[in-house]
Amino acid sequence: MSEILTKSRARNVFYGGSLFFVVVFVAMTAHSHRFIVNKSTAGMELTDEVRQGKHVWERHSCINCHTLHGEGAYFAPEVGNVMTRWGVLDDPEGAYEMLDGWMKSQPSGVEGRRQMPFFDLTEEETKALSEFLRWADQTDTQNWPPNDAG
């Protein structure tokens, strides 16, 4: 064993093999990039409003309580399918009204219940956020999550 596998051989296998896997990985992510843009997220246009909604989502760091497509913190519900759960996926007006009502009623202040902070959003920001969540919900996520509970 020690004669077949010398240190320099082990090193060469490491460098050569790693390079091979990097090339394969880069090729596959390039394909995935195109797939995302042209197929999986093409169900709804990526408008300026959706972009603005993403920034609202980021500025308030929603990800550190909620999950979005299963990623994030595990303290608060999944929101990748929240518009489906609320039954307003194809109803921009209804989506805005639901979200606006929800945001304005926080924090609940109920003792022993997890508290969502109050975020002072303008009407435009809330609208953008609800469009962003509708946009995220229409992504082809290989049928994840398994049910509406998220």
Binding site: C65, Y74, R114, P117
Partner: protein, 447 residues
């Protein structure tokens, strides 16, 4: 300590331990909020607490890696560091950046990509610090003796710094954002950081066991080859449900299953080296941490990772407390414990004294490891129940969470033990005392 410039590691380790204390206290508060959710809910909401917890962890682990590199590279390269001054400037930038990030989080200024919440100027500061660091160590290594340990360490540190570029790239398309976000997050902890970890482990084995360098270095290349061959395409296990193509389900399942192998190899490597080595090094605590780190990494990153990595399983467990269980034990075993092994080994030498307080240090190992193991079990049970009730039965998130209260209470309890262990470790490492318990006489053959 053979070289004067190794001393810079001391400052890095001290700052790292300070942040370690902040990290575990932040974790304790987050665990408290799970049990008593009204605590500080308007003053310091959960999202900010978690940000402090995760960011402090990542920064102190990196500071530990930087310090470890500054400590071991002069010995490996057989020369002083290129510049001590640059090393202190780098540390100053990182400290200012860290304080700036903490300050802005507390007043509500932060980004919204998980773990990459730092304000843009802090991200640039980290980039500048990384460049200074790479220049400093690369010039040292290039001018001196080249070993497999420095090769692998440098490669890991260069690649992880290059991947930091993706922290600046935030596409408007959420699915693209998520895909490139993993270039930092996954390719750090499941590829490049493993190179750093293996290099540090190899160095410690060389010093603690006295096994021949040729043997250590050959196996080191085998281990890091296994890590990258599995870890790079293993990124696919994050590309199951974020809008990426379906073929990642098979690629991700297969290659991330193989990710168990390098962790098993690292654990075997550590035990075989200790078994074969004949050096009786006085720093028993460093040996315990080295063996402990590679063992807990195998369970946390390897076994608990495999537990939910097959796409058929992950479809149901994705984003539940199972993920939290795995995350905690993996980070603790692979990176926290390996850093603490290095601190335990290097601190006595940096302070030019014998390794004192070893019994306290070893007690802190068992407190922290026991606490983390218990936390992992508890969260695994909580996650199993959550998976069934939420993903199979279809009950709503909060209704399920309300029924997991007992597990979150036990998690808080195990968190208290971890915090005590962490504080005990810092005390044992930083506060100079005589050894409280005298070691027995040299070993004699048993009957």
């Amino acid at each position: 300590m053979k070289y004067q410039s190794q001393k810079v590691a001391y400052a890095y380790f001290m700052v790292a331990m300070g942040l370690f204390a902040i990290q575990v206290l932040g974790g304790l508060l987050a665990g408290w909020i799970y049990v008593w959710p009204n605590t500080l809910s308007e003053l310091l909401p959960f999202n900010i607490v978690r940000m402090l917890h995760t960011n402090a962890l990542v920064v102190w682990l990196l500071l530990g890696f930087f310090g470890a590199a500054y400590y071991l590279i002069p010995e490996e390269s057989e020369r002083e560091l290129f510049s001590v001054k640059l090393a202190y400037i780098q540390l100053a930038i990182l400290v200012v950046g860290t304080l700036g990030a903490v300050g802005s989080y507390l007043v509500g200024i932060h980004g919204g990509r998980e773990f990459l919440e730092q304000p843009l100027w802090v991200k640039f500061g980290i980039l500048v610090a990384a460049v200074i660091f790479l220049v400093n160590i690369s010039l040292t290594v290039l001018a001196g003796r080249k070993t497999a340990i420095t090769n692998i360490l440098l490669m890991g540190l260069w690649l992880l710094s290059l991947l930091w570029i993706f922290a600046f790239i935030n596409p408007d398309n959420l699915s693209l954002d998520k895909m490139y976000w993993w270039f930092v997050v996954h390719l750090w902890v499941e590829a490049t950081w493993e190179l750093v970890m293996a290099a540090i482990l190899g160095y410690l084995m060389l010093k603690l066991t006295g096994v021949d360098r040729e043997v250590v270095e050959k196996w080191l290349y085998v281990i890091v080859a296994l890590a990258l061959f599995s870890g790079i395409l293993g990124t696919g296990h994050h590309f199951f449900w974020i809008g990426t193509p379906g073929y990642w389900q098979w690629i991700g399942s297969i290659f991330s299953t193989l990710e168990v192998i390098p962790f098993f190899a690292m654990m075997s490597f550590a035990f075989v080296m200790v078994w074969k080595g004949r050096k009786n090094h006085p720093n028993k605590a460093a040996l315990l941490w080295s063996l402990g780190a590679s063992t807990v990494a195998f369970f946390g990153a390897g076994v608990w990772g495999f537990l939910h990595t097959l796409h058929g399983v992950n479809y149901y467990t994705h984003g539940t407390q199972i993920t939290a269980a795995h995350g905690h034990l993996a980070f603790y075993g692979a990176y926290v414990a390996m850093n603490l092994a290095m601190f335990t080994y290097a601190m006595p030498q940096l302070r030019n004294r014998d390794p004192y307080n070893q019994v306290l240090n070893m007690a802190s190992f068992w407190l922290m490891t026991g606490g983390m193991a218990f936390m992992t079990f508890v969260l695994t049970f909580a996650g199993t129940i959550q998976t069934h009730m939420q993903r199979i039965v279809g009950e709503y998130f909060m209704d399920v969470q309300d029924q997991l209260g007992l597990f979150f209470l036990m998690r808080l309890g195990s968190g208290v033990v971890v915090v005590l262990g962490a504080l005990l470790f810092i005390y044992a490492t930083v506060v100079v005392r005589r050894e409280v318990i005298k070691p027995g006489p040299a070993a004699v053959a048993g009957e």
